[in-house]
């Protein structure tokens, strides 16, 4: 999946399922949209579904530093690369 495709998918998920309003790529997820640890776990499940493979415990823990949508996209790209290599 290209970065643009990922962005489109993730923004759609955040708007449709996490009730984000007008999300910006650099918005702080917690401060601007009330995104919390429960949301993070739920989003990881969506990301696994989207990527078609299961993330390891260590990979999931890496996601806990994510703060913005750009961070989410970076994270997904790095996971794609890791699982392709």
């Amino acid at each position: 999946m290209t970065r643009d495709e990922l962005e489109k998918n993730i923004v759609t998920i955040l708007v449709d399922e996490f009730e984000f309003e007008n999300p910006g790529l650099s918005d702080n997820l917690r401060d601007d949209h009330g995104f919390d640890s429960i949301d993070a776990i739920e989003l990881l499940a969506k990301i696994e579904e989207m990527l078609g493979f299961q993330l390891t415990r260590k990979e999931k823990e890496q996601a806990m530093t994510i703060r913005t949508i750009n961070d989410i996209l970076d994270y997904i790209e790095s996971m794609q690369d890791a699982h392709q290599s």
Binding site: F18, E19, G34, I38, I41, E42, A45, E48, E49, Q54
Partner: protein, 412 residues
């Protein structure tokens, strides 16, 4: 020094309506909320009882995802009635979050819908390796899910009590909340219970031969408390909450005081976990009167537990007869909606309040021929316009738990 505890708001979602207007109309017109059991694609084919006390109308919750992400269906009922009582109460946001307001609320077993989804995954032998068990399924299904979703939604920081004792769940919630306020541990408590649509509960009672099965084609004709043709209980769903406050502070802030809890008792039969126990129940009724500081003659009507099981109604009748004789009116409110399980005590208390406020007593539905073993009581057989001031609400649960709440109308 014990303090007086008053009721300053209430709300109920029931099979016969949501809110006072709907419910009072149902009580006055004898409208039943018992409907055909919905097919769940799993158990219904195996269950003999095909009736359920159903909330079949739409509720516009409007809760945002930040709240709903930890809520199963049972928490929707709970949070909606809690929202209603907080809005009606006029309590300030400062007080709500002060730690002086607590929550005493629970359900029979959390959210069976969520639990069922977990087990569906568990037994499905899914080929793919992704678990469909959600990360928050525990928060949605745990037994105190109703209480803590209420605290989360409204920022309540006081005590949390989540007594889960089957059919006495919400009567205990109110009773324990009453004691919290009475003895000064909290200044106010949101109390109640909720239970969602659930066929596993029907299956359990069905297997115990305790469910109604003879009226599957005429759901409104069952349950039939105290009637010779009663054939068991009907499981139902709903949610109900009351706001209890310390009397002096409620009065000082100009709250709308709609009733007072003056007595509560709870005990255990100390033995069998299923069979009703005359001695245990009789003791509870007497202890509640003692706590209220009134005599049996002061009670105008009794909301009986009256599930319409063969023996339960007989033993309860004997207990009422021993404590009260035939003076107080006796109503079996489950005849209108079935047994709403963990919610029944709170719903029946609220319906009792409504009847006191409106000056009538609703008849026990489907009571056509009184079982001679229950005939010594003063059953309400037809709609009766009468002013009442004191009511006793009786509930008994599997596990041998008995409760009795006594409320009083304090309006001038």
């Amino acid at each position: 020094m014990p303090r007086r505890v008053v009721i300053t708001a209430c709300s109920a979602i029931t099979p016969i309506g949501y809110g006072k207007k709907d419910i009072v109309e149902s009580l006055r017109t004898g409208r039943s909320g018992v409907k055909p059991l919905r097919d769940d694609g799993l158990l219904t084919d195996h269950i003999h009882s095909k009736v359920f006390g159903t909330v079949d109308y739409t509720i516009d919750y409007g809760f945002p995802r930040k709240d709903t992400k930890t809520m199963g269906p049972v928490a929707y009922y709970a949070c909606q009635v809690a929202k209603d009582v907080l809005e009606d109460s006029g309590l300030s946001q400062d007080f709500i979050t002060s730690g002086r307001l607590g929550v005493s609320f629970s359900s029979t077993h959390g959210s069976p819908t969520i639990q069922r989804n977990i087990y569906k995954t568990f037994f499905s032998n899914l080929k793919n390796e992704f678990s469909s068990i959600g990360a928050v399924d525990y928060l949605k299904s745990m037994v105190h899910t109703t209480a803590v979703n209420i605290t989360r939604m409204f920022g309540i920081t006081g005590r949390v009590i989540a007594s889960s004792t089957a059919c006495t769940t919400s009567s205990q919630s109110i009773g324990f909340g009453y004691e919290m306020v009475k003895y000064g541990m909290q200044d106010a408590m949101i109390c109640g219970g909720a239970d969602e649509y659930d066929t596993t509960t029907v299956a359990v009672f069905d297997n115990l031969l305790a469910c109604s099965v003879d009226y599957n084609d005429t759901p409104e004709c069952t349950p039939r408390p105290f009637d010779t043709k009663r054939d068991g209980l009907v499981v139902g769903e709903g949610g109900a909450a009351v706001l209890l406050e310390e009397y002096e502070s409620a009065k000082a802030r100009g709250a709308n005081i709609i009733g007072e809890v003056i007595g509560f008792a709870c005990n255990n039969n100390g033995g069998d976990l299923i069979l009703p126990n005359l001695e245990g129940i009789t003791t509870t009724l007497r202890l509640a009167l003692q706590d209220a500081g009134i005599s049996a003659e002061d009670v105008d009507f009794i909301s009986a537990h009256a599930t319409a099981t063969k023996m339960g109604d007989v033993i309860e009748s004997q207990a009422i007869d021993k404590v009260y004789g035939d003076k107080p009116h006796v109503i079996g409110l489950k005849s209108y909606m079935g047994h709403t399980m963990g919610t029944c005590g709170a719903i029946e208390l609220i319906l009792s309040l409504y009847m006191m406020e409106e000056g009538f007593l609703a008849p026990t539905l489907n009571l056509e021929t009184v079982d001679e073993r229950c005939a010594m009581l003063r059953h309400v057989r037809k709609l009766t316009e009468v002013k009442t001031r004191v009511a006793a609400i009786q509930n008994f649960a599997f596990g041998g738990v008995n409760t009795c709440l006594i409320i009083r109308d304090v309006r001038e």
